[in-house]
């Protein structure tokens, strides 16, 4: 069995081990650092290394998601939340760390105890590869008719899970809108509009002609790439989730360079709120249509009434599956893009409040950067 070979004999194992050591080191640095900005930057780094690791394990879909969600959007939102709080954490007294430390050590010991009985990575005889996993590989092309098995599992075989995950994004957006609002404070007071997001940046922005011009070129390309990822998910790595995140990042970059109020004029908060719920409605709506046509919920073979399905797909096509997957991926993209943008609006819209509060409190509590 080659996966039990010594570390040095197998370069890919060595590579994996090196990445793992890096991950552990970054985690320690995140825990030790009291500067929140440093911690956030390190979490971004952590995700990128993790994404590399997933690539090394031949899981490009997971790596892609990790990179755009963890490295892109989470980092941005964490930065936004630091903007609203302070920049360093209070030291924790050692006595308060005793119980968490015991819990963490116990969990670690339990995992190490079980690791021995977990099959080797890539072992073709392991339960995960031998039973349901092999069924997916063998049956996808026959039953769903698309080449990317990962997309078939996510969108079709386990499409109900994906509906649930889209709902989680929707619920998170609803939660942030409840607590922080829709960024309406940034627009509400015309006198303060210009200071939305970052007053210093807005002052200086005219010196950054290169940045502005470059962003103007970049954003359409990002949109285009987002749409490519959305519609290319059937054949390659990608899909609605990643596409939604890329579209949201394009909007966030726009807000960072041109100011929040400019972005909110083009993409109003109300539209983002509507988009977040419309996406889930599209996804669940596809399922309801399937039920009306006599199938089970999310059985895309019943996307069209049976005679139409026959006419559209010919002898061995899967028209219902194709159109159904595209439709639900569009729903996922709508919810993720609008939901994340709404979350960003919620955080960034609070920035003027914080800026004015900081100014009135004096330099010791203002930005230290």
């Amino acid at each position: 069995m080659e996966w039990t070979a010594p570390l040095l004999a197998d370069p890919s194992l060595l590579f994996g081990a090196a990445l793992l050591v890096m991950l552990a080191a970054i985690l320690c640095a995140i825990v030790v650092s009291r500067k929140l900005l440093t911690s956030v930057a390190l979490t971004g780094l952590f995700t990128l290394v993790a994404a590399l690791w997933y690539i090394a394990m031949d899981a490009p879909d997971v790596a892609f998601t990790e990179a755009v969600v963890g490295g892109g959007v989470s980092t941005l939102i964490l930065l936004g939340s630091i903007l609203l709080t302070r920049e360093s954490a209070e030291p924790v007294s050692p006595s308060r760390m005793v119980f968490p430390a015991i819990a963490v050590i116990l969990a670690g010991v339990a995992i190490l105890y079980a690791v021995g009985s977990i099959p080797g990575f890539g072992d073709p005889a392991s339960p995960a590869n031998a039973s349901v996993g092999r069924d997916y590989l063998e049956r996808t092309y026959k039953e769903v008719g698309i080449p990317n098995v990962v997309s078939a599992v996510l969108a079709s075989y386990r499409g109900f899970d994906t509906l649930g995950e889209t709902t989680v994004v929707f619920a998170a957006a609803v939660g942030v809108m409840l607590l922080l609002g829709f960024g309406e404070r940034a627009l509400g007071d015309p006198a303060r509009r210009h200071e939305a997001l970052n007053p210093d940046l807005v002052e200086e922005i005219d010196h950054h002609v290169v940045l502005r011009v470059a962003t103007k070129i970049m954003i359409p390309l990002m949109f285009l790439f987002g749409l490519y990822v959305l519609f290319h998910g059937e054949v390659g790595a990608g899909g609605g989730f990643q596409a939604g995140v890329i579209l949201a990042i394009a909007l966030i970059v726009h807000a960072l360079v041109f100011g929040l109020s400019e972005t909110m004029r083009a993409f109003p908060a109300a539209a983002m709120r509507a988009g977040a719920s419309a996406g889930v409605l599209i996804y669940a709506g596809v399922g309801v249509i399937n039920m009306l046509n006599g199938g089970a919920f999310l059985d895309y073979d019943f996307l069209f009434p049976p005679p139409l399905e026959q006419a559209l797909s010919g002898p061995d096509g899967h028209a219902g599956q194709h159109y159904g997957i595209i439709a639900i991926e569009i729903g996922v993209t709508a919810t993720v893009a609008s939901g994340i943008t709404a979350i960003f609006y919620g955080f960034a819209g609070r920035a003027p409040d914080i800026a004015s509060r900081g100014a009135s409190r004096g330099p010791e509590s203002g930005g230290g950067s």
């Binding site: 969990a107 339990a110 995992i111 105890y113 079980a114 021995g116 009985s117 977990i118 099959p119 392991s126 339960p127 995960a128 590869n129 031998a130 039973s131 349901v132 996993g133 069924d135 997916y136 049956r139 039953e143 079709s156 075989y157 386990r158 499409g159 109900f160 899970d161 649930g164 995950e165 709902t167 989680v168 929707f170 619920a171 998170a172 609803v174 939660g175 942030v176 809108m177 409840l178 607590l179 709120r273 509507a274 977040a276 719920s277 419309a278 889930v280 409605l281 669940a284 709506g285 399922g287 309801v288 039920m291 199938g295 089970a296 919920f297 999310l298 059985d299 895309y300 073979d301 019943f302």
Partner: protein
Amino acid sequence: MIGLEFLNIAPQRFAEQAPALVVVGPLIAACAAVLAPGRRWAWFLCVGASAFAFWMAVVLASEVARQGVISYAMGGFPAPLGIEFRVDALSAMFALLISGMAVLTAVFSGESLETEIMSSKHPLMQGGFLTCLAGLLGLVLTGDAFNAFVFLEISSIGVYAMIAMGGARDRRAYPAAFNYLIMGTIGATFYLIGVGFLYAATGTLNMADIAARIPTLTSDRSIEVGLAFILIGLALKAAVFPLHQWLPAAYSHAPSMIVVFLSATATKASVYLIIRYLSTVFAFDWQVETAFMAFVLAPLSVAGILICSMQAAVDPEIRRILAYSSVAQVGYMTLAIATATSAGVSAALFHLFNHGVMKAALFMAIGGAAIHLKSQRLSDFAGAAKSAPWTMTAFGIAALSLLGAPLTAGFLSKLRLIQSLVAADWGWAAAVIGLSSLIGVFYVGRIFEVVFFRSEPEGGSAVREAPVSILLPLWLLAIANIWFGIDATIPLGLAESAAGAVMGATTLSPAGAP
């Protein structure tokens, strides 16, 4: 079986889709509520969708009673390839409890939100509530271990924010919500790690399939560790002592609507998953599991019952008293489950149902009072029975039921609990429940003394009678507390068939007392 079969009037094709519709209905309504033009529309959607879910749950329960276990293949892919909704009597009972409580909470929410949350945010609150409802219903219906994780998240994410919305009236809601967010996320992560181990060992995510494959495995290690992670994660979510610390603060500072619904359903859905894993996924007679129940679950339940009852007895705030009592009551349920007998599980489920009915009524009455009274201190409720007789009488009935007074629902289920413990030769455990009831007499007596016998303060009590839309669901619950105390056919029938469904016909030998 459930006395509501007359509601099972859906056409056959419609009834076949009930397992999906019961979740999809509230989900679609949640999206629509967020888009609703005004708070009236959102409230209307909320009541309508909850009622629809309840109707579908009734259809499901009567179908299960008629034809046994219902399996519904999501996406038309049979398990284990696709995700399966597997509805047995246990799932049906929880679906009925959750959706029924949702209808009452939805009716209650209209007037209650009015005073607690600014009106432009009502659609979002109703949307979040319906999302949580869909999540809890999916959680108790799914037969897939990973799908259960997704629903666990759906039912929690919005709730964290909605608890924090209590911060407008009581700033302590913010740290409470943050603590719950951290603890809940740790719980969900532990559950997911456990599912990961099960998947590595069995190669499948379908619960029934996992159960079928476990006996064929040569090594038990990842199964043991998987079980440990899953149970710890769920115990956090179910607020089993000592993992309950998030609950008292979250329940005492959240908006009333959220507390009413959560206290009746949320921790109970996690108790459902614990029962599901202990009985269906892992074999109840498995050595590791028997040892776990006798030497870990039972002692922790006892500690939780006694310590939290005492904390309830000394706390000065009325909602926190009730929250601590909730943790103690969860202890009753896990203690009976730990006996691993059919009678024990059935008594636990019976008490769980009744506890939902009484706690919802108690928090609803407090929520009704909170329309005029911002404070939650018990002393500020002095003489409240004189200024708000209807609200406080219903409160009193539910409090008697919590105590276990004869002719209330609480009496019958507590009796069942004690009987099942004695039958399992756990006499000491029955004594613990008796002792905790004595402490209960103390804290319920304290509330009674203040509310009913103390004279109003100078200038009259600040508590006013709750509006009709609150009194209506409140009195329905109060009457249910008496009705089920005299004629317990409905809850007892549900609990017994649910316990029968998961424990099988064979009587399991009771685990030895620790």
